[in-house]
Symmetry: C2
Subunit: 191 residues, 2 copies
DNA sequence: CTCGAATCGCTAGCGATGCTAGAGTCACGA
DNA sequence: TCGTGACTCTAGCATCGCTAGCGATTCGAG
């Protein structure tokens, strides 16, 4: 009896460790370095164990890391916006936090938007994904000229574009602050 | 003598074929299907021949496809903007052409911005990349509140964000037209 | 308490990947 | 005529994601 419980605890713990180590490895050396063999070695189990936890294989592990990322992004954005009464001020804080998050966790961000195939904008979308979007929408809503959803989508696209283009070296490294300020001006124009 | 010339012609032709077939294969079945073996088989040569043309291996081939894509994007954007006097009208045409291009060539677009590691915003940036950016900047310039470069960067980021988020299913499929219209409003606000 | 069944994790291996070493073949110039 | 150099091939390496099949451990029924 007690053995069963201990096993379940160990199993859950191992599950968490797989996700944590996958993320760690990715942030240290990039997703190319995250192989099932390396992952197995670090959790000190053999490869097939990974498939007992994630039948979908590596993709499912990356997706799990991505969901974790969305939860943290939502938290970071909420914390940044909290207490900002002035809409323009809130938008600025949101954008700043968003870009800071992407810059601080490039591999995590890449899993969230490129590597992982997550169901998005659908019924079975994981909660953290919805929550992150809700923060963006609610923050941008007061400044929305028309439909808040549309405005949020465009605002999010702008931030996402700045994050990815910047990270890929597609934009001059200096001037990041100017770009953010400019984007905020556009998005919060009609307070 | 003539043999040498013929060889050079054949070599150049083969070079083009490698890039063309890589792109073809990618647009048909995605970049995962573009393997050096398949590529070699389709050009009817052995694998090592690929490395004679692209010492950097697969990455360099993808980069070549990406450069081709930027040239075509620049052409498409120029054609769309041509003759549009009204700034807002030009911006709308630019955005529409940009998103249409990304939607029509998803694999190509992915090579341009995700797969390939191209030098961007640097001295040795390939000409087609610069040209594509110039079209965006010049079109958005009349509507720029401040620095045209910054405005163009933000505008490009918005379009890029809409393109990638849309393609990855991160945005509701309907409402794409609304989003574009809204983005154009924001970017061309101060005609 | 014993023993079959089920669960668990392992070793070993499959097909495929990007890439390269070495050998063989051909046209050219001394 | 024959050696040289440029080309292309076959064969192979290390690594990848993933899985079949086996041995060990634990549980529950008799």
């Amino acid at each position: 009896m007690a053995v069963r419980e201990r096993r379940e605890r160990e199993r859950a713990e191992r599950h968490r460790r797989i996700v944590a180590i996958a993320r760690e490895l990715a942030e240290e050396q990039g997703w190319d370095a995250v192989t099932t063999r390396r992952l197995a070695e670090r959790i000190e189990y053999s490869q097939p164990v990974l498939y007992g936890h994630f039948p979908g294989g590596k993709d499912e592990i990356v997706a799990a890391v991505a969901v974790e990322g969305f939860a943290e992004l939502a938290t970071a954005l909420r914390a940044a916006v909290e207490g900002r009464r002035e809409p323009a001020d809130a938008v600025r804080a949101l954008g700043s936090a968003y870009l800071a998050f992407a810059a601080a966790h490039p591999a995590l961000y890449s899993a969230m938007f490129e590597s992982a195939a997550l169901p998005f904008a659908r019924e079975d979308t994981p909660a953290p994904l919805r929550e992150a979007f809700v923060v963006v929408r609610d923050t941008l809503a007061p400044a929305a000229p028309g439909d808040p959803d549309r405005h949020a989508e465009v605002g999010w696209a702008t931030l996402h574009g700045l994050a990815t283009l910047g990270r890929a070296g597609r934009l001059p490294p200096d001037g990041a602050a100017d770009r953010l300020a400019h984007a905020v001006d556009l998005l919060a124009a009609r307070g």
